[in-house]
Amino acid sequence: MTAVATDAVMDYDEAMAKFDPVMGLEVHVELHTATKMFCGCPTGFGAEPNSQVCPVCLGLPGALPVVNEKAVESAMRIGLALNCEIAEWCRFARKNYFYPDMPKNFQTSQYDEPIAYGGYLDVELEDGSIYRVEIERAHMEEDTGKSLHIGGATGRIHGADHSLVDYNRAGIPLIEIVTKPMVGAGERAPEVAKAYVSALRDLLRALDVSDVKMEQGSMRCDANVSLRPKVGDPLSSEQLAVPLGTRTETKNVNSLRSVERAVRYEISRHAAILDAGGSVLQETRHWHEDTGITTSGRVKSDAEDYRYFPEPDLVPVAPTREMVEALRATLPEPPGQRRKRLQSDWGYSDLEMRDVMNAGAVELIEETVAAGASAGAAKKWWLGEPSRRANAEGQDIVTYAAALGFTPAHVAELDALVTSGRLNDSMARQVLDGVLAGEGTPTAVADARGLELVKDDGALEAAVDKVIETNPDVAAKIRDGKVQAAGALIGQVMKEMKGQADAGKARELILAKLQ
């Protein structure tokens, strides 16, 4: 059974004419530390169910947590990269509620004393403009186990026969990053939401703190959306003065595209309700990837009371300022800034840079250039055959190349063979085929296949003379100044030379003889 749309929705443009959207995004990131947040269990994804557990993460009576210092360090680095303040002293807190996949029936989290707070992330939109997302806080907590509902059609608990719980995930370190209300985005709200999650993902990847795989749940997004009447431009003071509407929280939106779609859907749904004079119910919503709609989850009411209190089993976290500054020094260049720098270093157009980004080849090109190739050649080779094949295999270029053992050094070597004049372009393509087929390094492939431009100018000159002689009409045109006609002769020369000639040199010779 797939969810059936029963909610009315308003056309998006109409909704935007009448309402101003405000968003708040909560992103949960699983850290890829070797061990869990409060015990020494490994954190690898996809292990045999309940094989990565111990008394602590199973919540057995008597077990006690001990904080993973590496996780605290990652949390602080994330906070710093998001331009946050780092707390001088903060505690963990217990969030109390009952759920079968939560071993202790409380989650060890942080409440009013987060490790990082008050930051921002500048997000570049498609048109190159910047939207600043204000960050409320980033705090540490532990993940829950995972319930698997067996029987029933939806995989949800409703209608299931029985449920199984896998506690491997219980206790994996999580960082929850919460934005302040995102206002002023207007009709671009869905795009802003997506761009923010995307920028955050790039940042976390650059920090090397998480796998950030949304499809595996190592990065999860909850999107809060509310609407208020539109009274002016999104950023006008009169619009910003309008009180916020009632929000809904759409849980576990697990792809970039879904973030955009879910926000857009909720805007349209809220708009229909409000326009009909109704009021939005404050609740959590489930996102349905297949149908592109949300359905009602649990109603958030005053009855929901997590009874937070400071976790007495843990001592406060009190990073020294020296420690914070030492961590700040380990921060990578912010992804946006890095992208701009590389684009300028490489001399790419915006379009070329976007192609490289979309292909996921930035790092490969960077390494190739570092290995001595020109930026243009590096792009040409990576975005050519290797990219095409990776796409056909449904893999990203990095994984694909790594699996083949095809490296930036190979590309740089290939480029060097061309620039040194040993290979021409078409020969280089053959060499690339050989390298991708695992025949060895570019030089080895060229040697094995006997690919080398003929260096003997005498042979080339003889071929040129022969082609001029057999094509008097074309030769006449060139003599008359139609230089572009030389192409036809070059092709024939190359044929004479069985491809093993430098086309540039052939062209020079032809023109020298006919002008």
Partner: protein, 512 residues
Amino acid sequence: MTDLPTDLTRATAAALADALATKAVSSVEVTQAHLDRIAAVDGQVHAYLHVDAEGALAQARAIDERRGAGESLSALAGVPIAVKDVMTTKGLPTTCGSKILEGWIPPYDATVVTKLREAGLPIIGKTNMDEFAMGSSTEHSAYGPSRNPWDLERIPGGSGGGSSSVLASFQAPLATGTDTGGSIRQPAAVTATVGTKPTYGGVSRYGLVALASSLDQAGPCGRTVLDTALLHAVMGGHDPMDSTSIDAPVPPVVEAARAADVRGMRVGVVKELGGKGYQPGVRARFDESVALLEELGAEVVEVSCPNFDYALAAYYLILPSEASSNLAKFDAMRYGLRVLPDGVDDPSAEQVMAATRDAGFGPEVKRRIILGTYALSSGYYDAYYGSAQKVRALIAQDFANAYEQVDVLVSPTAPTTAFKLGDKLEDPMAMYLNDIATIPANLAGVPGMSIPSGLADEDGLPAGIQILAPATKDERLYSVGAALEAALVDRWGGPILDRAPELGGVAAAKGA
């Protein structure tokens, strides 16, 4: 070897340790003697929830073999011990006196238990307790109360009444306890035994089923101050598995107990602990003990800790709050009892949780879960939990002020001698008042000890004196305790427990 009695169960742990070290006696003999004693008297006392004869003898045999092979062993190696049922023991049932954990066999040892095993103490069994350590009498044990060997119609104290009655009836020379508001000290007082609540963090809490995490502290129980010190040295020390554990060596408790010297020490009598509500006989024995300390060369002054008056109220907000959260894990999902609700065809996980908790928890546990849930609720948090934390800070300040003037504080351990079973069961407030003198130490995290001060004139039952020291200065308890104990035993002409009635006509030497 000196004067080991023919009945090995009457020997102190220190004497047994000496005899074992010189191979005058084997651990198997000592362990078997206690197993025989258990078989003879525990039917009347009900101190044990579980006896592991086979396991204890196997451990005893292993120790004897290692000793025979010339291995150098720790001081208490071969001396059997009883473990409070709140500590997890791998392969041995651990119920915490609750139905909800009936049948649960932990897959791991508490750090304290690991230390006992490593030190070579055969674990003879698990002792009874009030359910999840909530109570002062063991009457809240789901498996029935333990009885005071001084009078089987009376309570042995609680929650550690199983451990205290084990010691007072010679069913083990040593026992472990946990003390959240007095659960080691009050049972010691009403059975004429010794018990120490170490500094918070001095003994690992890993593997102690938590009642109130910020108050719980495991500690040693014995019949003499030296025995208790020897056990303290084994149990204590830093544990990386417990974040609140103190990263420092165990204070020199054994040395202090052996020196037994109070000369020049300043002793403060806490004005607020000992007035109204304290039984005259308890008060009289306390006053005598204080006078003795003065004779022994201590300087005695009265000290005021005005905020102690609010300790009980603060305690009964903090404890239930933490307990309500700590006990949430008992939900029938992973271990322990599972009860299906009546008349529900296809119960949900939540319905099973509710039915199990309803059937598995006793009334006192439910009372405290409800109290704590309420105290933490949004809108009440500041008034209850928040205020209680402020009181806690004030009490710590009272202690700090007092310790500027004196080295240790003293008070009666409990306001009365052992009351009759059933007397206070229907009146929680009266039950809670039993811990009025012991609770401040838990709120402030400072160490405390109870030793026997004598028998009250009006009922002939044991009374206790409590000694309190600043945090991490646990050795002071043993200096004062051992000095006072020696003077009192001298005055009594022998250990006070010699005056306890023999149980049900069982000859003391039976089985020896």
